[in-house]
Symmetry: D2
Subunit: 452 residues, 4 copies
Amino acid sequence: MPDQNGGSASAGSWLFGAVFGRGSSSGTPVADDGAWLRSMLAVEAALARAVERAGLAPRGAGAAVTTAAAADFGPSELAELGRAAALTGNPVPGLARVLARRVSEPAARAAVHAGATSQDIMDTAAMLLARDALGAAITDLTAAAGAAARLAGTHRRTLMIGRTLLQQAVPVTFGLVAAGWLSGLDSAVEWLAFVRDTRLAVQFGGAAGTLASLGADGVRVRALLAEELGLADAALPWHTERLRVIDIAAVSARACATLSKIARDVTLLAQTEVGEVKGNPVAAVAILGCTRQAPGLLATLVACAEQENQRAAGAWHAEWQPYSHLLELAVSAAAWSRDLLAALDVDTARMAANLAEAGGLPLAEGITALLRAPLGAAHAHDLVTNAAAKSATSGVPFLDALLATPEIENTLTRAGISHARVEAALDPAGYLGSAEAFITAALDAHERLVPG
Amino acid sequence: MPDQNGGSASAGSWLFGAVFGRGSSSGTPVADDGAWLRSMLAVEAALARAVERAGLAPRGAGAAVTTAAAADFGPSELAELGRAAALTGNPVPGLARVLARRVSEPAARAAVHAGATSQDIMDTAAMLLARDALGAAITDLTAAAGAAARLAGTHRRTLMIGRTLLQQAVPVTFGLVAAGWLSGLDSAVEWLAFVRDTRLAVQFGGAAGTLASLGADGVRVRALLAEELGLADAALPWHTERLRVIDIAAVSARACATLSKIARDVTLLAQTEVGEVKGNPVAAVAILGCTRQAPGLLATLVACAEQENQRAAGAWHAEWQPYSHLLELAVSAAAWSRDLLAALDVDTARMAANLAEAGGLPLAEGITALLRAPLGAAHAHDLVTNAAAKSATSGVPFLDALLATPEIENTLTRAGISHARVEAALDPAGYLGSAEAFITAALDAHERLVPG
Amino acid sequence: MPDQNGGSASAGSWLFGAVFGRGSSSGTPVADDGAWLRSMLAVEAALARAVERAGLAPRGAGAAVTTAAAADFGPSELAELGRAAALTGNPVPGLARVLARRVSEPAARAAVHAGATSQDIMDTAAMLLARDALGAAITDLTAAAGAAARLAGTHRRTLMIGRTLLQQAVPVTFGLVAAGWLSGLDSAVEWLAFVRDTRLAVQFGGAAGTLASLGADGVRVRALLAEELGLADAALPWHTERLRVIDIAAVSARACATLSKIARDVTLLAQTEVGEVKGNPVAAVAILGCTRQAPGLLATLVACAEQENQRAAGAWHAEWQPYSHLLELAVSAAAWSRDLLAALDVDTARMAANLAEAGGLPLAEGITALLRAPLGAAHAHDLVTNAAAKSATSGVPFLDALLATPEIENTLTRAGISHARVEAALDPAGYLGSAEAFITAALDAHERLVPG
Amino acid sequence: MPDQNGGSASAGSWLFGAVFGRGSSSGTPVADDGAWLRSMLAVEAALARAVERAGLAPRGAGAAVTTAAAADFGPSELAELGRAAALTGNPVPGLARVLARRVSEPAARAAVHAGATSQDIMDTAAMLLARDALGAAITDLTAAAGAAARLAGTHRRTLMIGRTLLQQAVPVTFGLVAAGWLSGLDSAVEWLAFVRDTRLAVQFGGAAGTLASLGADGVRVRALLAEELGLADAALPWHTERLRVIDIAAVSARACATLSKIARDVTLLAQTEVGEVKGNPVAAVAILGCTRQAPGLLATLVACAEQENQRAAGAWHAEWQPYSHLLELAVSAAAWSRDLLAALDVDTARMAANLAEAGGLPLAEGITALLRAPLGAAHAHDLVTNAAAKSATSGVPFLDALLATPEIENTLTRAGISHARVEAALDPAGYLGSAEAFITAALDAHERLVPG
């Protein structure tokens, strides 16, 4: 269907689409005009087939409508759809009319849009878009998680300085950092898959949610429609119960949230003055460009759940754009994250150098621990902090500054703590606590999620 | 602990608290100053007990700290906490200092805050708050769902006019409306319980997420801490992986979203001119007052997930208030919804009167269906619409207007459709499609969720 | 430049564009791909002319670049721009390269993008978009305000029932309702114009905001660039000081906020059961569909102001889409509001009927006022409320119910209040307080703003 | 009135209040329970005085109510207010009742709440809160701007490396950075003052905005009420026209936006690895903790503008908390910013060292400019980039790497560009473009705003 979107896919992608509208791995945009058109037509075609299977339309009606739905829409038809949308407030009535016009046989024509209201078509099409978008995001995030797992495994013991409130703190390993990313990515994938697998369902209720125009056949037609589309059936029409929309939006925004942390870390570690990682210079920035748009869009969709009676006057309409856009952003950010992590270059020498430059100060906490028993926590903390400050301003190595503090020296002697033990306590590799256990735990959890 | 919050609970509740800070069924506020204080102290006490059980503190240290944590905080200590918080940027260091001061035995004192960083205490306390808050919301929403189920069952066949875009449309039943509410409430409960049961976990990582100051004992202490608090252990510290916070926020906002639809419906149905339901005049308004605040708070929390390195400079801090407030709103809205639905008064006579006043016009869709086969959909639609318009302006009953249209009359004759059948088609009770099946489905699903 | 946007305008408008992307009165979309492309080219062309005027490029360079910028971009060039944007993270470098390629004379070619960084071009283009969009919104909102003024004038004394919390309250006039709308519309126009006239300014700072590559000529070139574009000069580059963006966004969202109130009122007054106004059934819904998207977009733009150092890593990029979309929504909502108010049909008979049906109850407050002096406020309130309740349930007219209450009857007698005076107090036309003064005030203020 | 808030101020401030609820310079919280109570009482007292002055209440009624309003509320009265608020959905009816009870003289008692509806009291009280809060924010932001101006002046020529996308770019001065901050702070102050001075106005409309219960006296009482409170009179009641609320919220969020940029810069420049500034380690983090909450709150308030008819069912109620909280955050962030900037320690040596370490690479743009004419922009760019890369990897000084490139060397010779000129082009002090002019412009603008 090359012309289906009237050229908007290519035109759309030249501007912001290249950054924010990266599609599935096949390159197809997930929620642009073309994707919506294809999805709405797919729903109308499936409905005609369902109606035929239910015995409510003549044999061949489903195939006739399916054929009509497969034909391209040219510019004049798209313009007609636009005019109709302005008159009716949504794009479906115009679409149904054009589609019906393409079906020559009157009896088959009656199968077009049978029993449906506009919202049935758009809501169900939105589920098809979500299936594709969540799938695309899962694929790329799984690849990104694989890359994070490799980084975590490779850098199990790659020492680096930890940073809290953007200040150097105690040592960590880059493997632990990557394990944290991995944990977030795995959780993002799990919830995206959970929502895709349990929350996508056909919407079919007719004018006010009773399917009255189908008489006693409504539930059966709905089940067949669900079957045709490979979507779950829904016990109830959900035209004004919008939790499915919210769930799709929330896991999309949640995936973005995970990626925002990773991208932020990468931009900080890649700073010229830090230089601990290098990578695609655009990817991390593009991810943040995507993820920062997500919270506001999610908020809009949650607010839109306040829908009146049997069809909302505005709240439903206000969903279309933030829903489409949030799906696009999640898919784009996921694609960028795969690029980012797969090619992330870790500069272990720089990590070691940054850590060495800190001159033992990051281990002050460990030294304090050594002195806590003999001196009490508060006093130990004060003495060590003073020695650290002296070392930082004078350039004297931290060990020397410690030993040059008489009270510390005396305490060590009294407590039988050898200088060698103090020196050992100043080895960052010895002050990693459970870091490696945490890495193993993250890798084990990933292996359970993505065996292989 | 009557004085724990320095009076803030009572003072807090007199203003907006009465509407927006309704607490659990026991009346305890879920996330005000007092609840935070109690929770942080509970975490510190549990940590001391865990450290003792791990053999890292002398026997009795846990009990000593637990006793110290149970004593009230008077105004001067609260003021000291406030001053300390302004100096350190969070309330924990001051709290740990006051707590340590209360423990006379130096060896036991060393068990206070052992191995922990401020964020460990606050994040874990936040999980305790969530456990209480989600529990309270689940209780009240389950009661609200029970009320909705009763309404759905009682009003299975209570006819009313459906309304789309705030205009009268085809008939529905009030049972179907209530079934829609029920479906949303059940889903709200399910997800709240899912998050409470699977996503609450202890946070324990020390200064930079390695638990270095506990040497090789970190993971064991964490497991014991989790056990003491009845929280799940977490494979990894999640200090900068904020999906747990987002999940708690999202299900809270999701519950609010469900309630916003119900409260909106009630305000609309209770309008003087509609008059189909009556109820607590404050409850629906209070719910909307709560639910409209939720989307913005959720957005803030999702945006805060972009946390730097091993501790965020601001993004973590920015979580505290929206997190607390969103929990309070969800609990309040749930409490109001229980009040609202348990006492909702349905005026079936008014429903019948409003439907009768519509004079058959809501059935135009059904009449069109009758004429679609002989006349074609478009032509049938036009003729019926004209007759409906004539009826509406002239006051002539719709049936008469239809039969007074020669082409309709002739078509009926030709097609062998009796006047009786047309008259039957104008009976709203006969144009309800699958409404009852939908009600049954919603009640069955509810029965599976809440057997009884 | 018919092909400039590669067909995206027409394709874009067929789907959601018809509702949410209504452009200026000339029909041109205000912030789609084509508008951005035209604006960025306009900035590049103006920069080349400015550079020439500053003596930094040979004569004719400005004209050559302007000509190059006027030529259409075909599909292959747009695709090239898309690919370049994905590589560099923004669309400008590719655009500058294609533009330079079109300038055959090397010396003139050097004038392309001289001294500028990508952000200079996009930020300044964003100002041009804002000028058009705010202008379009002002035009349509001024027309809408005119319509509201006519309604306020015409219906100065058109009585209707006021409604608080969706319940009937005391009488108002439709003129007063329209005056409230007018007041909001006038304020929307005023602030839009204020921002358009005072806050749009050229952004020009070069790589890091110093204009270093232009040596001492930077400020002069900037002034000429501003002159060429008809924008204000800015004392300082504002590449990381985003208050201009926020101000544009805030007045756009503010205009949407005004319209949301109006559209909400119309949907409520147009309810079948109320029926006091009629109008374009799509317009009010479309307005709400627009306005409900505005808050989330505004929030994103405000959050994006946290921009790092001399160029933000993501926060700037995250602005592009919400900025464009918010402008589009404000313009669309304004266009719909003009349609809505210009053709709003007021059913004064229905207003009178709804008021009459309330049977005097809305005047209970006035009757209470009459009895307050002799009986005390609380007692008067209780007696009148009882009589009102009796009237409502029994169908007895309110006046009769009042006079049938012995204590009221006696009090009236004692206080010398005649039945005629009570009857007069039950005339809603006499219980309008300052309504007419308020209408006059609103009309006077409007006349000052839009003389004529 | 020490007890007015039942202790909530002190209790409230110990937890998050110390960071997020810093009050005005006098230390008074700007929008907590106590501030609301005081403000609502002030409005009720002013109304009684206005009513007396209008001749609608006996002499002394105003004074009697004012005295009653000045007496403390004890715990039992606050609890009564809370219960009443839960019954009526807002705190005013209970407050008016307690207040009336305190007035012994029946005729004076009738002046309590005369003509008013609950919303009149709360909306007008909200204006009083805004006056205090905006004033406090203006004071602290003006001080912060003063500090920024001093930094800009002092560091006019303090060289540092500019950073774009968190990567080192071309040189700037710290004075220019501070001038950018100054410009934002001045704009924040200007708009806060503009809104405070032009948009705060009394709200007074009675039950449905007509002031009907005051007969013909409504407008006069309102004018007197405005006079009593020192607020502007409003042409029209604005109970459902919420632009004033939005404007207050928008300038508050706007001030936060300005501060977010400054705080983010400080955290980045203060990083251990950058070390160019030092300061209060809590202040910048606390600012970001405040500012990140602002966008979501603003969004909620904008969304709440969709208010129904003559009083909103929920949207008005949903404003109270975000409005209060946003004011508190703006005031707190402003207070922190004053602390931050007044004591900011600039490490010029570290700035110089960081710049020197970049080894001339930041001047590549300048060298390219030198070669652009003889070589063409693209070719010059490529050659210089290669030399820069060679210098970066090999450690060879950039100048040497340039001159060791034969084509560059030859071009320089041919074009008569001396090595001295190349060397000069590698002096960052010579590559500052208009930086100083921009600083002067910012300081001049500040001087105009805050002469002295």
